[in-house]
């Protein structure tokens, strides 16, 4: 794939974040009343950087991602692309933004048009946006893109329909299609969740090469912290709970030295692929298994009814703000903000 490589973004450009969400909220009107699916979050992604957004189902990851992609307009707050508010851009700048930010969906089965061949799927945006002129050039470009996503030799895949491909191959086609317009940022929403382990790693490795060789930034959404760890190790991770960011920091710290009780609970809960380790891993029990409804959020810290550190009168009062707990690592927890995160656990490499 060396022939296709490009020089990464210049350093000057990497100063301005590619994408910024500033105080962004999304309120939905539902039968149960208005719900804040995303509540006042701040995030930014730099060129070539990975920002992982993790959290359980319903925490607001997709809602946040759709706002970042310009697919939904925030109720409050600003979404900026390369420093410009996307909702006050003129048409042509907005068009440039939409081409620069590509969304890759979770479900490779649903996201490709079943009646189009892979060639048609990939050449359509190329021709529509005049990236290349003429069918021959478009087909050549399509072959080049398939090579980038490891579908080689491309002639074997171009004439096929989606149903003739495996899940992993379809997901690669979705990525190739996202690459047609030379994006600066890929928003990958659970893009590998439906794939088998063995295939997932090769898709992630392929995405990793786009990140490293082409300097593409990633907003990488997953409920699987082990996958966030693997793909986002050199980047940052934000942990969401019921619409809010509860912990943020460099990925190795979030994984190996989490401070927020919710992040700790998540990491502890994950079984390890090692029988001795997984059975001896320390686990603190939560006070409740039930996830509160967004329509009736608990007062104060919305994790308080489940939290092992809960303190009456403190945690159910104010909503805790994200504050720095360790250099570069912040958490939204009253108790941790007051007492610190305590001892670094013995199994943690000090990151």
């Amino acid at each position: 794939m060396s022939a296709l490589e490009k020089t990464p973004e210049t350093t000057a450009e990497s100063r301005t974040p590619l994408m910024t969400l500033a105080g962004v909220s999304q309120v939905f009107d539902t039968k149960a009343g208005p719900i804040r699916a995303v509540d006042n979050i701040d995030l930014s992604v730099n060129p070539g950087e990975v920002l992982c957004l993790v959290g359980e189902s319903g925490s607001g990851k997709t809602t946040a991602a759709r706002m970042a992609a310009g697919l939904a307009r925030p109720t409050d707050g600003k979404v900026e692309f390369a420093g410009n508010d996307i909702w006050s851009m003129n048409r042509s700048d907005f068009g440039r933004f939409r081409r620069g930010v590509q969304y890759v969906h979770q479900d490779p089965y649903a996201s490709l048009n079943p009646t189009r061949t892979i060639l048609q799927t990939i050449t359509a945006p190329l021709l529509k946006h005049r990236v290349v002129k003429g069918n021959k050039a478009a087909a050549d470009k399509a072959a080049e893109l398939l090579t980038k996503v490891d579908l080689t030799p491309p002639e074997n895949y171009l004439p096929k329909f989606p149903h003739q491909l495996s899940g992993g191959q379809r997901q690669r086609v979705s990525v190739a299609r996202a690459l047609t317009l030379d994006p600066k940022l890929i928003i990958a929403d659970e893009s590998t969740s439906m794939l088998d382990v063995s295939i997932r790693i090769s898709v992630l490795a392929m995405l990793g090469r786009l990140r490293d060789d082409l300097g593409v930034g990633f907003l990488f959404i997953t409920h699987d912290l082990a996958i966030a760890k693997y793909f986002g190790w050199n980047g940052k991770t934000a942990v969401m709970y019921l619409g809010r960011i509860v912990e943020f920091g460099p990925t190795p710290k979030i994984i190996n030295a989490p401070t927020h009780p919710y992040t700790r609970a998540l990491i502890d809960a994950i079984p390890e692929p090692d029988p001795d380790l997984t059975k001896t891993k320390g686990r603190e029990s939560l006070r409740s298994l039930e996830i509160p409804s967004l329509a009736h959020l608990p007062s104060g810290c919305s994790f308080h009814p489940r939290c092992p550190l809960f303190e009456d009168g403190l945690c159910d009062g104010e909503v805790p703000q994200l504050v720095e707990i360790r250099p570069g690592q912040s958490a939204a927890c009253h108790v941790v903000a007051r007492d610190g995160a305590g001892e670094v656990r013995p199994d943690e490499p000090v990151a």
């Binding site: 495996s166 190795p252 692929p273 996830i291 490499p349």
Partner: protein
Amino acid sequence: MVTTTPSGKTSTATARAVRGGEGKPLLSIRDFKVEYRTGGGATVQAVRGVDLDLYPGESLALVGESGCGKTTFGLGLLRLLPRLGHASGKVIFNRGDGTEIDILGLDGRDLREFRWRDAAMVFQGAMNAFNPVLKIRAHMHDTMRAHTKATRQEIEDRAGELLRLVRLEPERVMDCYPHELSGGMRQRVLIAMSLLLEPEVLILDEPTTALDILTQRSIVDVLHEVRERLGFSMIFISHDLSLAAELADRVATMYAGRLVETGGVRDLFYRPRHPYTLGLIKAVPPIVGDLPDLESIPGGPPSLAALPKGCTFNPRCKFATDECREAEPDLLPVTDEPGSAHDVACIHWKDVHLDREVPNQDLGTAS
């Protein structure tokens, strides 16, 4: 609460899990096959000759990639295949009283009695398949009444006891409609329901897939607990190796409809001897520690309609030689240590070793 003490000493459940272990196997499966008719007179074989023993109290994990035949195997064992599916071979169930039942020969009443009473299954995705207009109470009563003469009060008591065992409050849950419960709660209700008739064998198909991490954890803990209390045997089907590491005494790896490796959970995870098991283990990212060094298995599983000649894994296998493309290897013991059972279907098993690279310490400081 788990079957292994922190020191790594194994408890009775594991000790029983070995081949020729304590007493007779509960389930003895020989040359078990399942075919599906696919139209135009064509058939595909989704399970292609499985030999397996399940011992009393044992927890066996069946792992493998999507489409390798795990669900088909489970459905076939309990004679729950769709109409176009057909099972053959021999499956013997040993009732505690010494009677042996040939499952594939059962029909009518006997078959109904076997299901639920001797063996029950929690289906893949079943937590989304409750009858939406019936309350949990009605589901419990219908199940019990279909198979026993229990009185109303007996059913209430039994259901209450099991719901508490899976950490649900019967007073609250019994009067709920399925949609009023979360996915994790529905899954726990299903586990409770499957245990109503005290089966000896419980088959769980992807019991935690599609559930959130904390919910998954609660299901895993519940399974540890109920098994400890009730002592049934369990076959659980999962594509998640970490779950197998946590819940299984013994693991069977399935590939293209056959078992390619079976062994104790520690043997399989620390000393895998089939390149496919090795590949799966190397592809799973651990959560603790530094950046893992992972590898994928190239390619994908073969189509059942066009299986590669010889070892079906050979096109993806880095140990493959010409010999691998000739005949399909049998599942054979790789250890003669007494009390230990580890079987592998690979002619090059002696060359297969798991050696994890020492993680790079420097990476831990990246920020």
